[in-house]
């Protein structure tokens, strides 16, 4: 399968992270906004965690894609039965 899941998944979490942390930054000083979450700006902190996770996934996926692009067509492993048509 030539679609590496890590690329769309990484993109999604990167975007989620950007949205959450930007929103967290914007609402950081609003009085009472984070009373529910015990005064912690969860949007900012959790947004940053998701951003880091998303970027890592995306970069891993890209690296794998580049590695595959450089390789010659996949050699058949000896002893392995080829299935399909």
């Amino acid at each position: 399968m030539s679609l590496d899941l890590r690329i769309p998944m990484g993109l999604m979490f990167t975007l989620l992270g950007v949205i959450l942390s930007a929103f967290g930054l914007a609402t950081k000083d609003r009085p009472g906004f984070y009373a529910q979450s015990l005064g912690i700006d969860v949007n900012l902190w959790w947004g940053l965690v998701l951003l880091a996770f998303g970027l890592t996934m995306y970069l891993l996926g890209r690296r794998e894609q580049k590695r595959l692009a450089k390789l010659p067509p996949e050699p058949v492993v000896e002893g392995e039965v080829r299935r399909g048509h």
Partner: protein, 607 residues
């Protein structure tokens, strides 16, 4: 009242865009029916492994485990420790070689290879019904939850629609999204989205657990605010009256661990299909083992929210009197009656006619445990991350549904359509049938969703269904894979006997405090169990034993199949695979030992 802002909607929308985007991106890879139904048998083990547990991470897991956490406490973790981990190790090490190696395309097809046509037909039919039922329950639960949380109320007000349509709107929206991405990308799409959802659940629930624990005063604070029995997995399990679930050690070990757990994880095509989609035998065997690793830590994410919800103080209507510049100000916070009658953040069930809390036969308020986890989200999450939490919840429902739908379309197309309706058609034809079976399966699920169920706990309902259909099944596979003498006639009659026994047992016994009817005892009440969970486990044990005994007896009365036909299907007749080229620590067996040690360690920790 739930107040969603634009950020929350943006996050939800982003998720839907990616879910559908993955479906569209995969469409061009769907060339043969193998690509569509089996993901081309080309996926890496880690993706299949995460999808393996994610397929099960639907309604019964996220809401149901939170509900059980609130109802029974940490004992719920047995569903992981005894119920899942050993079975996952067993299926990976011992059963996967036959599922994957036989080249069967579905679990019923394996039954045809090992036994005969009628055993397969029976299994395929009961399985198809069960998947539709599960995905219907998932849909119903989701629509009810969306209604209860008022997720779409603001949207409906803004557009000017009648809020009565929210139930239908939620069902149609989720059905449409699942339908689209499976229709386009088949099993690959379902698996990819299950992995996406796996990470989304962690992203949504980990901060919830962390904040909840902080609020209640950490682990020791949680211990201090719930009954002692709630914090122990094993203590008090020797006798039914000393643990919240009301189950003694034999019922628990045999019922959950051996019969229900194995029946589910080792034979349910819903989860097995993800392992069968991996790229080679070693990967396929590693899939359930990889899945077992996150499965060990999932109790923290899904059970703890329920336990925290019970432990937190119950909100009451209160008036704060303060004096500001000489004026006396009364500030009243009004809590709704269901909240006040509830316990912690778990509301009481309200009779819609009288508006009063519903009571059990002892006069205590019946709690709506299914609201434990959602109420935690509303209580702790401000807008922004609330959108993420709700998206995670929706995602879990949709992927639970998706797993059922792909299992349904495969079994329908290969085991019912190709076998009994239209043999020898072209591959393209079967792929088209699979796509339309997806549509049909989803329509049937919608029908089931409307035939709603009045049960206190989704988990109990699903366990009941599984105990009728799945519990006897494990005996058939166990005998089929490890006893070459087992015959087709025997397997068939064993399955019938098992399911019949399960129904009979359910009809003759009843949990304490329950009225005869859907909870059991519809024939006569011969015995009363301390809880419905205990009854489910014993139903499963009886069904399994009946199947085992009948299969063995009938096998000896019927003619065995020649051994040559059973190579690759039965353990003793299958040559051991040569694995000298794989380093010892990369072998599935090494991973299995690691997982087992981890599981034992966690059980000791939560003793």
């Amino acid at each position: 009242m739930l107040n969603l802002t634009r950020v929350d909607w943006l996050i939800m929308l982003l998720y839907f865009v990616f879910v559908l985007g993955i479906g569209f991106a995969l469409k061009r890879y769907m060339k043969t029916s193998k690509d569509f139904f089996q993901a081309g048998r080309a996926l890496p083990a880690w993706i299949c492994g995460l999808a393996f547990i994610s397929a099960n991470l639907g309604a019964q897991e996220v809401i149901g485990m939170g509900a059980s956490g609130a109802k029974y406490g940490l004992e719920t973790a047995h569903f992981y420790g005894i119920g899942a981990i050993p079975a996952m190790i067993f299926v990976g090490i011992f059963m996967m070689p036959f599922y994957y190696g036989s080249k069967a395309r579905s679990v019923p097809e394996f039954l045809r290879m090992r036994f005969d046509e009628k055993t397969r037909a029976l299994n395929a039919c009961s399985f198809a019904v069960m998947t539709v039922f599960s995905s219907g329950i998932s849909m119903y639960a989701m629509a009810r939850l969306i209604q209860a949380l008022h997720v779409f109320d603001g949207l409906f007000r803004a557009v000017g629609w009648n809020p009565d349509g929210i139930f239908t709107f939620s069902i149609c929206l989720s059905a449409l999204i699942v339908l689209l991405y499976i229709f386009l990308g088949g099993l690959t799409s379902a698996i990819y989205n299950e992995v996406l959802q796996f990470f989304l659940i962690i992203a949504g629930f980990l901060p919830l657990v962390l904040i909840g624990l902080r609020n209640i005063g950490g682990w020791s604070g949680l211990k201090a605010s719930v009954p002692v029995a709630y914090m122990h997995e094993w203590k008090g399990v020797a006798h039914a009256s000393t643990n919240p679930m009301g189950i003694e050690i034999i019922g628990l070990g045999m019922g959950l661990g051996f019969v229900l757990g194995s029946g589910y994880w080792c034979t349910d095509f819903l989860v097995i299909q993800t392992a069968m989609a991996s790229k080679n035998m070693e990967s396929a065997r590693r899939v359930p083992l990889i899945a077992a690793v996150p499965k060990m830590v999932f109790p923290f994410l899904v059970i703890l929210p329920g336990l925290l919800a019970i432990g937190l103080p119950t909100p009451h209507t209160r008036t704060v009197v303060s004096t500001v510049n000489g004026a006396i100000i009364h500030e009243t916070t009004v809590e709704r009656p269901e909240v006040e009658a509830g316990r912690g953040l778990v509301p009481a069930k309200i009779n819609p006619v009288t508006g009063k809390a519903m009571l059990d036969t002892n006069g205590n308020a019946l709690l709506d445990y299914d609201m434990a986890t959602p109420n935690m989200l509303l209580h702790f999450f401000p807008t922004g991350i609330l959108g993420l939490g709700l998206t995670a919840l929706l995602a879990s429902f949709m992927s639970g549904m998706a797993g059922n739908v792909t299992a349904f379309n495969t079994v329908f197309t290969y085991d019912l359509y190709q076998s009994y309706i239209h043999k020898n058609a072209s591959d393209r034809h079967y792929m088209a049938v699979g796509r339309w079976a997806t549509v049909g399966g989803i329509l049937l699920s919608i029908g089931t969703a409307y035939a709603a169920i009045n049960f206190n706990n989704i988990m109990d309902t699903l366990q009941l269904v599984f105990s009728f259909v799945n519990a006897p099944l494990f005996a058939t596979f166990l005998l089929g894979m490890f006893w070459k003498r087992a015959t087709g006639h025997a397997a068939f009659s064993g399955l019938i006997a098992g399911t019949a026994t399960a129904m009979l047992h359910h009809g003759l016994t009843l949990p304490l405090l329950a009225h005869p009817g859907i909870h059991g005892g519809w024939l006569a009440v011969l015995h009363r169990y301390p809880s419905d969970m205990a009854m489910n486990f014993w139903t499963a044990i009886f069904a399994f034993s009946a199947n085992f005994v009948v299969t063995v007896v009938v096998s000896y009365c019927t003619k065995a199949r020649p051994e040559a036909e059973l190579v690759g299907l039965v353990h003793s007749l299958t040559p051991k695979p040569v694995r000298a080229h794989i380093a010892w620590w990369k072998r599935p067996e090494a991973l299995a030992v690691g997982v087992l040690l981890g599981a034992v360690g966690l059980n000791i920790f939560f003793y």
